[in-house]
Amino acid sequence: MSGSTIIFYMLAALTLVSGLFAVGTRQIFRAAIFLLFSLIGVAGLYFWMQYEFIAAVQIVVYVGGITVLIIFSIFLTQQTGEKMPKQKLGRQIFSALAAFCGFALIMLQVYQHTFTFTGSLNLIVDPNVQNIGNQMLGVNNGGYALPFEVVSMLLLAALIGCILIAAPSNSPKRGELPHSNPKSETT
């Protein structure tokens, strides 16, 4: 068992175990922290696969962005330390069963399917920043300029949407809010 293998299993365990806790714990703040660990675990797996760029993006966007966003919103909407109400047992069992069935089905199909590497080794494109950057803005030959533009439009729209929804309105009806002036994080 090589070192790489050991690292892999550790990362896998980190990802899955903290993922499980993230969906299992009844303290919302802890859940967010476990989510953070799970996401870091995934980033570790990217590293392990030598996709450093993606790993970095993962850390920056997820760990630095989304998780923080979530934690902020938790602060906004929840008293910390308060335990979340428990879901009905029946629902839990049913969900677990359904999830397990889905898992079993997919694993069955995946293991019955033989994925074979068909390409030639010397055509492999190295996922380094230069290649990625070139392709990201390329128009032809597998360039990703269009998706890039689409995502930018999407982010713009999302931005406007967020401002609109979360920003305090001028209308007097909003005076009944529990928090005097909840700020929108996205602005």
């Binding site: 797996l45 696969m49 109400p85 494109v125 998706p147 931005l159 949407g161």
Partner: protein, 104 residues
């Protein structure tokens, strides 16, 4: 124990996917539901990277897919949180069970 490869990663990603699904189905707090969604999206990302690495390394399709998914996840999370906050304003709660006026 064999050398970890594609199948192992697929196992992890699928497991993570269904952990997320389980969370989505069982959590009562809207924000934790949102967290489950993030887990789901991460599992998909893992899939794409793994396939790209082990099977189709001639192009970076999987990688780019992952990048864009991350971007989308961010946007989605932002809008979702905005909506949740708005909901919190009117319902004074972010319990999903409190938002079921619309039914039948």
């Amino acid at each position: 124990m064999m050398q970890p490869g594609l199948y192992h990663i697929l196992f992890i990603s699928t497991a993570l996917f269904f952990i997320g699904v389980f969370g989505f189905l069982t959590r009562k707090n809207l924000i934790t539901i949102l967290m489950s969604v993030e887990l789901i999206l991460n599992s998909v990302n893992l899939n794409f990277i793994a396939f790209n690495k082990y099977l189709w390394p001639e192009k970076l399709d999987g990688l780019f897919f992952t990048i864009f998914i991350i971007a989308i996840a961010a946007a989605e999370a932002a809008v979702a949180i905005a909506i949740i906050i708005n909901l919190y304003r009117s319902h004074h709660s972010i319990d999903v069970d409190n938002a079921e006026e619309l039914k039948y």
